[in-house]
């Protein structure tokens, strides 16, 4: 057993757990977006950042991947943590203006508006890569992946064409935290033979 503190509350954990897992087990809320228990953590969205302190020294780490250790002093709501969270939410609001899920999460953490202009009012995807990870790790296919890099990074199938590798299982749509995969999905599996929405 390992004991350490989160927000001055003593918690216990076993070797191999992460700070996030321990916090959740103890009902301490840390926001996450790119984390899903079905797949490996990537530590990309940085919403789960927490501050580690030791005397005057401190640093921010991603709790979803940070392993627990004896005597850690973890703080989940410090000024620095909130600054990162606030800016990430502000940027997400501008990057994915069409995602109600993101707006809901941001509002829950006190961010309701953004200083940034949106480049694409329809955008919902924030390229967390959960879809690609679930396809590789759970479905075992790797029909999609994140392609390109930096600001151009996006999710897609090779050569931006529907791919035979996709079995249209919809795991990516299910795991997507922002609902973005719903609009990308048809371009990956190819449009289904019949479109029933016309009947409705």
């Amino acid at each position: 057993m390992i004991t350490f503190k989160i927000n001055d509350q003593e918690v216990s954990a076993r070797p191999g757990w992460t700070v996030l897992e321990t916090a959740r087990e103890h009902d301490i809320d840390i926001p996450t977006l790119c984390f899903h228990p079905a797949v490996s953590a990537s530590g990309a969205c940085r919403l789960c950042m927490v501050e580690l302190r030791e005397g005057s020294w401190s640093k921010l780490v991603a709790s979803c991947i940070y392993p627990v250790a004896e005597g850690l002093q973890v703080f989940t709501e410090t000024e620095r943590v909130r600054n990162v969270r606030r800016w990430v939410f502000e940027m997400l609001l501008a990057a994915c203006p069409a995602s109600p899920e993101i707006a809901r999460m941001a509002a829950k953490h006190g961010v309701t508006s953004t200083r940034f202009e949106s480049h694409d009012p329809e955008q919902t995807c924030m390229v967390c890569g959960l879809c690609a990870r679930v396809c590789e790790e759970v479905v075992g296919l790797s029909a999609i992946a994140t392609v390109d890099r930096g600001v151009h990074k996006r999710v897609g199938a090779p050569f931006a064409k529907p791919t035979d590798v996709c079995v249209a299982c919809g795991s990516c749509v299910t795991i997507c935290p922002t609902g973005a995969m719903q609009s990308i999905f048809d371009s990956i599996r190819g449009v289904p033979a019949t479109n029933l929405t016309q009947l409705g």
Partner: protein, 808 residues
């Protein structure tokens, strides 16, 4: 409590996603009180390490051999639980999930207690299924014997060379073992690739000379039997003598043929020719002089998808002509819809060689005349003329003759068509899919020589990987595949006809019987075949009909009079429901969802069971038409649902109590509409009236569909076969067929009800008594009784000058 099943149920709070919506305390209490539940616990996050460790600990302490996690989507999370519990020998099939979050917590405005009650029903159903599970043992797959490479396609050599490289024994069946001859003939199937020949020669030599390979020269494949790992191939020689070989795996290398285009293109094989003929000419008498026009005519052949391929091979031939015969003029004439498939370097070379590319307006077909060809120029709309001495057309490509014959023996012809495409969608990644590991060459889809060889290599590499795994003891027989009960199988062959994955084969048994065997490495576990077996001889192991019936019955018994249930297909309805739940869409809470891999997997008796045990309505939410991942499971479900509808009608119930619906996983709003529409229909009809007499009818309905082999046979016979293009209700004599089928059902249903009467009470009964009990027309009853007497099901004697009937 069950003697052997020890089931643990774990309820997940999922942070604030489940706990506030469902009263988990109440749920834990009621689930814990179920007789078949050995342990029930609630945890913060079952899926995170703390939760997983807790489950493992409890499973060890309580010696659980079944685990149910009630939390979220099984599609995403099940494999994680399976992986964690594998060390405890809890295998696939012994762990199940109920999606409380997506199917209960967020989808309605019920209060937390009501939701706990609903959850308890769904969990009890899952427990019942687990209790009915008879888990199979884990078996390793074994591959015995070499790899046999058949089909005589050029990819054979690259496949063999790859096998040699991987040091795996192979038998190579070829027409000729003379590299010179092989290369001489190659232009007939892959023209324009002369520059590739030296390399091809190397590959052929590698294949022919490896100590791992043995050659079967000049023999034809006559028959194939057995399963992956243990095949027997029969070859015949010129004299018709047969020889048998065993094989661990087979690689088929088949090439398509080039045929002359339709008349009207002026093909004469001498001056107007196809590329293979041009290459013969070059080989015979050197490069032609004068003007050679390559007309990329694939658009006009009706095969525009191969235009780029034709253009590339024509260009290579053209370049060869220009290089070896500087006096020749070479022109490429192409439909403007095609993009010229040359890279920058090739363009530079093209420029150096001065090969002209002339586009024409595709709306006007070029016309061949003696020595001239007219075409319409796109820019000036003038009909221009091209003078030619030799005109080379694109060929038509298709598979015929020997290629087609071998493909049939190998079971590769899934659909009638020009090529061997159109295999069913893959459903299981670890599946040893036939198309993937099996087939290489232009018979799949036209390709260049290099591509064909690459396919051969790829097929061989995958086969080698399978051997590597098997030899290392890491290749396991999939858990959820069909198995045949030889005691029950009569060899009627329905399943084999219905199977799309090629997993069902024939085994010669003693006495000429032909029981079916299943190749577990090829079976996709779709189970539509098992549901169609008239004798319940084909069973989808670890996911059997008995389990499904247990689950259905357990749920149906717990449903309130106005509640109904739905089967949701793993590829359509279930993901749509999962996503609807995730998005917080609301729908009628009276519907109870049961997930199933494919609605085609549901035996009609499981549907009947739901109605028999207390459900007021049953809807099967499959995927969209023509998108089934299995062998037309949706169409099969359609036939079964309609059978139940007829029987409901015969029993005096509303046909609308059962329905088939479609859902696309990416349209969760549509799913909600589907569910609401169905629940409205059921609500409008009210609960099913269940007087003893009514209940007896539903019981008879169930018994009929479960046990009556005539009805089950007819039902199977009417199912859509792979390769059939028509939907069941779409057939030419649909109405006649339907009427006949209805008549049979009416007859058999009456007989079933009579049997029910005889079994329930001691007879004998006379005609009046029977008609009185059943409220049916005396003439019909009399006819039925006579049938049954003839069949020996009942006997009759005379009593007071009146015939009386009793079980014989």
């Amino acid at each position: 409590m069950s003697a052997y099943a020890k089931t643990g149920v774990f309820l997940c709070k999922c942070g604030d996603k489940i706990a506030p919506f469902i009263n988990l305390e109440q749920l834990e209490k009621s689930v814990g009180a179920e007789p078949d539940v050995a342990h029930c616990a609630t945890m913060a996050f079952a899926c995170l390490k703390p939760g997983l460790e807790q489950i493992t600990q409890i499973a060890v302490d309580k010696q659980l051999n079944r685990v149910i996690v009630a939390g979220c989507e099984n599609r995403l999370m099940l494999s994680k639980f399976e992986e964690h519990l594998r060390p405890l020998e809890l295998l696939k099939g012994q762990i199940d999930m109920v999606n409380l979050r997506g199917h209960v917590a967020t989808v309605s405005d019920l209060d937390a207690e009501q939701k706990a009650t609903k959850s308890a029903k769904l969990i009890a159903a899952a427990v019942a299924e687990m209790t009915a599970l008879r888990p199979s043992s884990l078996t390793r797959a074994r591959l015995q014997g070499p790899v046999v490479i058949v089909g005589n396609g050029i990819a054979s050599f690259s496949a063999a060379a790859e096998m040699a490289r991987q040091k795996i024994d192979y038998r190579l069946a070829v027409e000729s073992a003379d590299p010179g001859l092989i290369i001489e003939r190659i232009h007939e199937t892959y023209p324009g690739e002369q520059s590739y020949h030296p390399r091809l020669q190397k590959s052929i030599q590698e294949a022919l000379q490896s100590p791992h390979g043995k050659l079967l020269v000049g023999r034809k494949l006559a028959m194939l039997s057995g399963v992956t790992g243990d095949y027997t191939l029969t070859f015949s020689d010129d004299q018709g003598a047969h020889e048998k070989f065993t094989a661990g795996a087979i690689i088929a290398c088949l090439d398509a043929q080039f045929t002359r285009p339709k008349p009207g293109f002026g093909h004469d094989g001498k001056t107007v020719m196809i590329p293979s003929e041009m290459e013969s000419l070059i080989l015979r008498s050197g490069p032609p002089k004068g003007t050679v026009v390559f007309w990329i005519s694939d658009y006009e052949n009706g095969q525009p998808e191969f235009a780029a391929l034709s253009a590339k091979s024509a260009w290579q031939m053209a370049a060869h002509i220009r290089q070896t015969s500087p006096a020749a003029t070479v022109i490429m004439l192409y439909n403007q819809q095609m993009e010229v498939p040359l890279t920058a370097a090739e363009r530079a070379m093209n420029r150096k060689l001065n090969l002209l590319w002339i586009p024409y307006d595709g709306a006007m077909r070029p016309t061949v005349q003696d020595g001239f060809l007219t075409f319409c120029n796109l820019s000036d709309h003038v009909e221009h003329e091209l003078r030619w001495n030799h005109l080379v057309l694109s060929p038509e490509r298709m598979i015929t003759g020997e290629t087609l014959r071998v493909a049939r023996i190998l079971g590769l012809v899934h659909k009638e068509g020009r090529f061997l495409t159109g295999h069913h969608a893959r459903v299981r990644p670890e599946m040893v899919g036939r198309e993937e590991t099996y087939l290489a060459g232009s018979a799949r889809l036209p390709c260049s020589l290099a591509d064909a060889l690459a396919q051969g290599r790829r097929a061989a590499a995958k086969t080698a990987e399978m051997f590597r795994k098997a030899n290392a003891g890491e290749l396991f027989v999939p858990r959820i595949v069909c198995v045949v009960d030889p005691e029950k199988c009569i060899g009627c062959g329905q399943c084999q006809e219905l199977c799309d994955c090629g997993g069902i084969g024939v085994e010669e048994g003693p006495g000429g019987g032909l029981p079916r065997i299943v190749d577990p490495m090829v079976c996709t576990g779709g189970g539509t075949c098992a549901a169609a077996c008239p004798y319940h001889a084909l069973v989808l192991q670890n996911n059997s009909n008995d389990q499904r019936e247990a689950r259905v019955a357990a749920l149906a018994r717990r449903l309130g009079p106005d509640e109904s249930m739905a089967f949701v297909c793993g590829w359509g309805g279930l993901p749509a429901a999962d996503i609807a739940g995730k998005q917080g869409l609301k729908y009628d809470p009276r519907i109870h969802l049961l997930s199933v891999p494919c609605v085609g997997q549901i035996d009609a008796c499981a549907m009947a069971r739901a109605l028999k045990e207390g459900a007021s309505g049953l809807v099967l939410v499959g995927c969209l038409p023509e998108t089934c991942h299995h062998s037309y499971g949706l169409d099969h479900a359609w036939a079964r649902v309609n059978t139940i509808k007829k029987l409901l009608s015969l029993s005096g119930f509303q046909r609308e109590r059962i329905a088939l619906a479609h859902a696309d996983l990416n349209r969760p709003e549509d799913f909600v509409r589907t569910v609401d529409s169905f629940t409205r229909t059921i609500a409008a009809m009210g609960p099913m009236v269940r007087t003893p007499e009514d209940q007896a009818k539903v019981d008879a309905l169930y018994d009929l569909i479960k046990h009556n082999t005539r009805v089950r046979h007819l039902l199977s016979a009417g199912l859509r076969r792979p390769g059939e293009d028509t939907y069941q209700g779409d057939q030419r004599h649909a109405l006649d067929y339907d009427r006949d089928f209805s008549a049979v059902l009416a007859e058999e249903f009456l007989q079933q009800r009579l049997l029910q009467v005889f079994r329930a009470a001691k007879g004998p009964f006379n005609l009046d008594e029977l008609t009185g009990r059943l409220h049916e027309d005396p003439n019909q009853v009399a006819t039925c009784l006579w049938e049954m007497v003839q069949n020996g099901q009942i006997g009759f004697t005379h009593k007071n000058h009146e015939a009386v009937y009793a079980l014989s």
